[in-house]
Symmetry: C2
Subunit: 212 residues, 2 copies
């Protein structure tokens, strides 16, 4: 499904945030230049893998010099779209929704939580930091009025598909789904799932087989 | 690093929970037999990928019959170690820790939350469902007394490595880490990370490049 160099594999894309995180730690330590070999020791990918990954984007390294940490950090941020402001809403204001609303780092990276929505009258009207919990019935209008980009689904499994359909009808661009189910959305809607149980079951596998 | 068939790649392991989830949905719909081709349509992996994945575990399919859904569901559960009871503790009783404590499905899958730990005096002594929030100072003793298997780290980035070291010293077997940092733990400690920002940045990438 790849056309020349125009499409980058999901595997590479998923490694980019990791590169960016390590580069940010290097910057905090005032390290401004690093070779792919040194980077390899820190990140745990091979140096050749690193060079190959970063070559997808034109290649930032110079032979004999290595990578300019700040430039690479900034460039990966741009590639990831972190130079863009995304307006987000959180649907489902339970503990998980509140945890995400409270996590200020997402806002700092450009994902601005504008409002939360819930069906529980006890929650409607409350604020998490300065983010209001609104009545779920007002969601569609709010998305249109505020031109919301991303819906973060923190409802239970049963409600998630219905919420997704309402988001799609309201012309949302992307969905970040925490409900433990696979959502059916049109291809032009970008969907990213966080399936926590799959991660936990992977840990379970590792524990069961760790002495083999 | 693979020795014959004794080691299974992480990519396959990470697909197993997905197979199990889809099989459980088939069972709910009273479907008891399925071909790799039909399964392929639902899951979105190719039929050949599915046959190859499941062959890693001896192969449950019969030519011309397909897979026995219930048997396959149960077998994958066993492979994943979901026939085992794991005692877990949650470190960090903020919103995220509470969200996990409230998520009863993990308990049903054998991951029993025994206690939560926090340093905040306002939280210590409270209960989430029937799970008590204890003083973080009591953690090491509790792990030893109760023979805890898994520590779930829901602290901030700054505290996470210190918590991990204390868990390791207390002979924990596995760590499920939600703090946005990579932990340094010995090889015999099974570590699974949930890096939420990496998932969000992947969504950001997809949004930025969706019209290309």
């Amino acid at each position: 499904m790849q056309k020349g160099n125009t499409k980058i594999s999901m595997a590479v894309i998923r490694r980019l945030p990791k590169y960016r995180r390590y580069l940010s730690e290097l910057l905090e330590k005032n390290i401004h230049r690093i070779s792919s070999r040194e980077l390899s020791k820190i990140i745990g990918f091979t140096a050749s893998q690193i060079r190959q990954d970063l070559n997808n984007f034109g290649g930032f390294g110079q032979q004999g010099y290595g990578y300019n940490v700040a430039a690479l950090y900034e460039e990966i941020g741009k590639i990831l779209g972190l130079d863009t402001i995304y307006k987000t809403i959180i649907i489902g204001a339970g503990n998980l929704g509140q945890a995400i609303a409270n996590y200020t780092n997402f806002g700092k990276s450009g994902f601005v939580p504008m409002a939360m929505f819930d069906i529980n009258p006890k929650l409607i009207g409350l604020k998490i930091r300065d983010i209001e919990i609104m009545d779920s019935d007002e969601m569609e209008q709010y998305i249109k009025d505020q031109d919301i980009d991303i819906g973060i689904i923190c409802t239970n499994k049963e409600q998630a598909q219905d919420v997704a359909q309402r988001l799609v009808k309201s012309n949302i661009k992307g969905i970040w789904n925490f409900a433990p189910t696979d959502l059916d959305v049109p291809e032009n809607i970008m969907l990213e799932n966080v399936h926590l149980s799959e991660s936990l079951y992977t840990l379970s596998f590792l524990l069961k087989h760790r002495d083999e």
